[in-house]
Structure formats: structure tokens, C-alpha cells
């Protein structure tokens, strides 16, 4: 089975998905990222999906789960590089990816994470709270 590489760049973990992932590969990425967040203490995750020509409900759910897991581990996730046709299709599919931060490219994603960290005064205790509650990954039936 192929594996999606996770790179550490400063305080950020960067994942660039370059393959059409089997479902198992997406689940493995979810696990790998959780482990790397804990192992590195990184506070930001950027997932670059600019090479993906589709995002279906499985990959969409995986992205939402990664965002939720990272938040619990005190890291913020930004999904970057979504193609316009993918965005149009996702919305029609019924998946609006609630709770997922997005940016147009890796650079803007890094800016976003840096700004967030500053706004939060870099103080872990204060900002953890129950913020995640705003963002159900699954739409209500």
C-alpha cells in the first residue's frame, strides 16, 4: 500500500496528497498525522489537495476527521489548494466541510496558521476549551 508522506517544516506538518488514494491510504494518513502531531508537538497542519481532481465523501470525511483530531491535539488544520471544479462538486454532493479551515495555497495557509497562533497569544491553556463543538463533521440527517 502506498503512503502519503508527512513533512515537518518548522512548527508545521505539511501533507501534499499526490496520489488517487485508496480508502485505506486515507485512513493510514489520518493515523500517521495524529502520531506525528504528538511526536513533534507541531501546532499546525497543512493539507495540500491541489493535485486531487476529486474529493468524494470518504476523502471529505477523512479531512474533517483529521481537522477534529488535530484540534484535540492542539493543532489547527488548514486544507489548501482545492480546485474550483472540486469545490463546485463538493457542494452539490452535499458536503460543505464544516469545521475545516481552507486557504488558496500553502503560503496563505501558513499565514493563516501564523496569524491564528498570534491571536491566541500562543497560550495553549486558554484556547483549548470546547471550541471544537462548533463544528460537527457529519451533517445532521
Amino acid at each position: 500500500m502506498e503512503r502519503v508522506p508527512v513533512l515537518k517544516i518548522g512548527d508545521i506538518l505539511l501533507v501534499s496528497i499526490q496520489i488517487d488514494m485508496e480508502d485505506q491510504v486515507a485512513l493510514q494518513l489520518q493515523e500517521d498525522l495524529a502520531e506525528r502531531i504528538v511526536a513533534t508537538g507541531c501546532h499546525g497542519v497543512i493539507i495540500d489537495i491541489s493535485a486531487l481532481d476529486i474529493v468524494d465523501s470518504f476523502v471529505g470525511r477523512t479531512l474533517a476527521t483529521i481537522a477534529a483530531i488535530s484540534r484535540v491535539l492542539d493543532a489547527e488544520t488548514v486544507v489548501v489548494g482545492m480546485r474550483p471544479a472540486v469545490a463546485i462538486t463538493l457542494v452539490e454532493l452535499g458536503l460543505s466541510l464544516p469545521g475545516i479551515r481552507t486557504a488558496l495555497n500553502v503560503e496563505l495557509g501558513m499565514d493563516l496558521l501564523a496569524r491564528e497562533r498570534e491571536d491566541n497569544g500562543d497560550d495553549d491553556e486558554e484556547t483549548n476549551g470546547l471550541e471544537g463543538a462548533e463544528t460537527p463533521a457529519v451533517p445532521a440527517p
Binding site: F58, A85, E92, V138, P141
Partner: protein, 134 residues
């Protein structure tokens, strides 16, 4: 009208990737717009995964379509799984018996131009979808 298609056995995650690739290739060949290519590949991914996960495996056939006025792509997904007892329920956004998002059937139907489903409890499910060039 119905040209013979290419049949892909669906028995693993990898086969679902194969279905996506086959649909992508044909969608480009029949000159669907980029957005329509994206929609039909996404719909195919959802339905092929259902064939695998809920149908217990089956096959998918991808073929060019032509109704005399327009060209397009037609895809059949077929399994001999448990069938779907309550179609209204299955097509409800968010309904899932497998811990998914419950958007595969309903979402796929929104993404294509024609959607036909034949299902019988204990016998299986066959879904045919068509996307036409604009």
C-alpha cells in the same frame, strides 16, 4: 445507442480507484467539461464504493453514450448484495447504515443527468447513471 463498455470487477479498494481512473479517461475522451468530468468521477467513486462496501462487491461497466443529439458517458454499477429495502430512506441526505456521511446515493443522483436504480431485497442492486455533454 448502447455501445459495449468496459467491465471492471469491484472487489477491493484498489478496484474503486480503477473505476475512478476508467471514468476519468472516458469523460475526457467524450469531451465532458472539466466540472462535469469532476462530477461524474465523484459520483462513480461514491457508487463504486457502495457496490464494494454494501453490495459485497460486484462489477462496474463504463461506456460512451450517444442519444443522437448528444454524447456522454454511461456507467452501470451492479451487485448481488442484500438490496435496499427502503429507497426513500437510503436517498435521504445523511442516512447511513455503515458509519459514512450518508451522501453517496443522494449526492451521486444530484451530480448526474440520469439516474436509474433497480434493487430487490436479497437479490442485489443495479444503478445506471448517465452524464451528457452540454
Amino acid at each position: 445507442m448502447n455501445e459495449p463498455g468496459r467491465r471492471i470487477e469491484v472487489a477491493s479498494d484498489q478496484d474503486v480507484v480503477r473505476v475512478r481512473q476508467q471514468v476519468r479517461t472516458l469523460a475526457v475522451a467524450v469531451k465532458l467539461s472539466l466540472v462535469d468530468q469532476t462530477k461524474i468521477v465523484t459520483a462513480a467513486s461514491e457508487l463504486a464504493r457502495n457496490t464494494l462496501v454494501y453490495g459485497g462487491g460486484g462489477w462496474v461497466e463504463v461506456a460512451p453514450a450517444d442519444n443522437g443529439r448528444r454524447k456522454g458517458i454511461r456507467i452501470v454499477f451492479s451487485d448481488h448484495g442484500p438490496g435496499i429495502a427502503d429507497l426513500d430512506l437510503a436517498f435521504t441526505d445523511g442516512y447511513t447504515t455503515g458509519g459514512g456521511l450518508g451522501l453517496g446515493l443522494s449526492g451521486a443522483r444530484r451530480l448526474v443527468d440520469e439516474f436509474d436504480i433497480v434493487t430487490a431485497v436479497g437479490e442485489g442492486t443495479t444503478i445506471t447513471v448517465t452524464k451528457w455533454c452540454r
